[in-house]
């Protein structure tokens, strides 16, 4: 059990509740790590064709999202072997403007590895993890989005 607790952790959570940055940071903390890189994606106040975005509605193909996250972690660990813990929380359902839709943290002994890995992590998440968002406007209208990259 002690070995399991001390080994590398890959933690993925889909949640309809407000995301705690501190909880994600705590999940990757380790006395062997001097660096924790964090990325927070929030719902931006935006306009499209004169309509104001009031929030986003997220949906996931949940079991596949988990398995794609597992692949993503394996890929990161292959590229940056010193990465220690990886934790990604993603919101589902309604996320209003200003709130976090995704909070991710990666720890490593030295900073460059966690910094490069976190950039890769959000890019891979956007490209491969089956999650979708719909922009909801102040006009009651909504439209599904597509990640540009």
């Amino acid at each position: 059990l002690a070995e399991k607790q001390n080994g590398p952790r890959d933690i993925f959570k889909l949640s309809c509740d407000w995301l705690s940055v501190q909880e994600v940071v705590d999940a990757v903390s380790s006395p062997s790590c001097g660096a924790i890189s964090v990325f927070i994606g929030t719902t931006r106040e935006d306009e499209a064709d004169g309509k104001k975005v009031v929030g986003l509605e997220y949906e996931a193909y949940e079991p596949m999202a988990q398995s794609e996250f597992t692949k993503l972690c394996a890929d990161i660990r292959a590229r940056w072997p010193s990465v220690t813990h990886i934790c990604v929380y993603h919101r589902l359902g309604w996320v209003k403007v200003g709130e976090a839709s995704v909070v991710m943290a990666i720890s490593s002994p030295h900073r460059h590895d966690s910094q490069q890995a976190i950039q890769n992590c959000i890019s891979q998440l956007k490209a491969n993890v089956p999650i979708w968002k719909k922009e909801v406007y102040n006009t009651q209208e909504a439209s599904w989005k597509e990640n540009a990259e």
Binding site: Y58, E59, S101, V129, P130, W132, N147
Partner: protein, 91 residues
């Protein structure tokens, strides 16, 4: 061709699809196997014509693995999960 028909669990995981097809899940779709992913997609389009609105960027997921729509041949087993995956927008 050792082709035969079997039942697949057909998932419409995104609300894109739900809105287009009006259903989230179909239990009893008969599908020939082996089948190219393009033929599989064509078969889905016949059942749910409004899926053609997705067109660009759509892929399939068979047993929770992505399969691009094209010549790739997919071998299905009874009860396999097939999902229609429109362009992702997580993060």
């Amino acid at each position: 061709m050792n082709s035969h028909w079997l039942s697949c669990l057909l998932w419409f995981w995104s609300s894109f699809n739900v809105e287009l097809t009006g259903v989230k899940e179909e239990q009893t779709v008969a599908v020939p196997t082996p089948i190219s992913s393009l033929d599989l997609w064509t078969l889905l389009l016949q059942r749910h014509p409004r899926l053609c609105e997705l067109q660009d960027g759509v892929v399939l997921a068979v047993r929770q693995e992505y399969v691009a729509i094209g010549n790739q041949v997919v071998t299905l087993r009874d009860g396999d999960e097939v999902a229609v995956v429109p362009p992702l927008s997580g993060g």
